[in-house]
Symmetry: C2
Subunit: 332 residues, 2 copies
């Protein structure tokens, strides 16, 4: 049995390019006792993967040159010698970027039956949704009546953070990079949307939208967005630092905001987090989010690319604003 | 009765200069029933006063042009028609930068008898000491066995933070701007001292001193110090943001560190605080600190300027590294 895989061909300098990736064929071993064969149906591309393409110490090991990439995936068991994972089981794994693989089931979870596409376990019911929920409920502790500002707000995490903000009872202000995305967020009930590419001064635009000030900033972008948030935070505001996508492709270090003293003046709490450390709370999250999805209180947009050969294009598209909601690749 | 006062003559551009200040004489009113006359013995100059010289909204109102400055002071009641403050009482107030004043006692506290100079109520037993204690015990929650990094470590707050760090059982690394100050901190038992003016790379110097990484950074400086700390923080480290003195005299905004993404990668908590919001804990602090001073577990250095006419020179000296420990002005 031949499997297709995407390897890291070279480490990106700046924005990733197609030649950083290589598709390769691999002969899979026979399925031995206690193992099963998975055909991947969906795989995830996420901004955090960019960090793993750099050879440095971080909260997750870097990808190795010439080796297959990995990341979230949903697959179907098509051959099995493992009692817990019979043929036909749907599983989540961290073994994306490949068409098929043989496994002993370590770090695999069987999916429950849901009426929605299984791909949502890579998005709203998976890592990005859990990230939005963790940042709002566990890190920033957003409360009803407060004002929430979300950057990269049409993305996989941001679009869920905006909707959770509304469910919590906050006023929600979103920043996006196109008028289409702004319209999408408006349709989700967000109170005000800023297209940061068309405003002349982001801090002034945020001040206009949040005249009462910002209590919680859900940080996905960094740079000018962080600076604008610091300008407009209220006393004792909280900044949940989830990502700084504006800097992931920097080839030279970009200076930070010049107004960090606002952290003192406004007595802010700025807290970085990695969702995996909060995974013990996944069942609680999944129960709540499952209900919201079922009732339509949360809507989960996806941008779908087709075919493993387009996975790198989908990944590169994350840094070009190509996705609305969760970017996923349909493999089969 | 004539009192001498220091007025804000002009708003500083950059580092304050003597002509930003003006000494003026004022006739005091008679002491009416319920009032008393105070002769100031000591006044405080503190870096935070620089922020009040800018006409902007902050946690404390700006000074007005042409009006007397204010700040912490210790005085003696020399005439009284107030039962609670008889002649001879020693009082703390926020009515510094003047020789005498008449008051109804609002926001005045009578000093207890102590065997040390009353001036310590402007330092180790006052706002700066309470700031160090609050930042370590309430904001960063420093624990025994952890590593603490303190910038501006020979200052009024920093020198106490270093000593409290040792009492808590932490390894303490200090940054200062002269070899004399380094020797002073060594004499206090600090584990390693960096003279940031003589090292070629502050981040590398901190890495050398803190090979086990930094768990808590007590931030007084900003800029390159913050960047070095971010580079060397351990996972789940805490940064108590007390001040950013490197930026107080900026005439153009100075960009922040380029490595803020460390907040995510290392899951840091960065928290600004203003000591006045924690003042309810002053009795607890004062009891502990009083004992440490009595036993010699904490030593409180002071740099003393004499005469109200030298108060502005003392204040300007804060930004030139002229003080070791608390800078105070002896008025009588």
């Amino acid at each position: 049995m031949q499997a297709q895989q995407i390897l890291l061909n070279s480490r990106p300098e700046g924005v990733p390019t197609p030649d950083n990736f290589k598709i390769a064929s691999l002969s899979l071993p026979e399925v031995k006792e206690g193992e099963f064969l998975v055909k991947n149906l969906w795989m995830s591309v996420d901004p955090y993967m960019r960090g793993r393409m750099i050879d440095r110490e971080s909260y997750i090991a870097p990808f190795n040159l010439g080796e297959v990439l990995d990341g979230g995936a949903i697959g179907e068991v098509i051959e099995s010698r493992h009692a817990e994972f019979p043929v036909g089981s749907k599983v989540t794994s961290m073994l994306g970027w490949r068409s098929h693989y043989v496994t002993d089931g370590n770090e695999h979870t069987k999916l429950p039956d849901i009426s929605l596409s299984e791909s949502h376990f890579l998005g709203v019911l998976g890592m990005p949704g859990m990230t939005a929920w963790t940042g709002l409920t566990r890190i920033s502790e957003l409360k009803a009546g407060e004002t929430l500002f979300v950057s990269a707000a049409s993305g996989a995490v941001g679009s869920i953070a905006c909707q959770l903000g509304k469910l919590i009872g906050a006023k929600v202000i979103a920043s996006v990079g196109s008028d289409e995305k702004a319209a999408y967020l408006k349709s989700l009930g967000v109170d005000a949307v800023i297209n940061y590419k068309t405003v002349s001064n982001l801090s002034e635009a945020l001040k206009e939208a949040a005249q009462e000030g910002v209590d919680v900033y859900f940080e996905n972008v960094g740079g000018e967005h962080l600076s604008a948030a610091l300008d407009n935070m209220n006393d004792h505001g909280r900044i949940a630092v989830c990502g700084m996508i504006a800097q992931y492709n920097d080839t030279v270090p970009t200076p930070g905001p010049s107004n960090l003293a606002m952290i003192i003046i406004k007595k802010l709490r700025v807290e970085g987090f990695i969702v995996f450390e909060h995974w013990a709370h996944y069942p609680e999250f999944a129960k709540e989010m499952g209900q919201w999805l079922t009732t339509g209180a949360v809507k989960a947009e996806q941008t779908v690319y087709e075919g493993l050969e387009n996975a790198s294009t989908a990944f590169i598209g994350l840094f070009e604003g190509k996705n609305c909601g969760k970017m996923v690749v349909k493999l089969a």
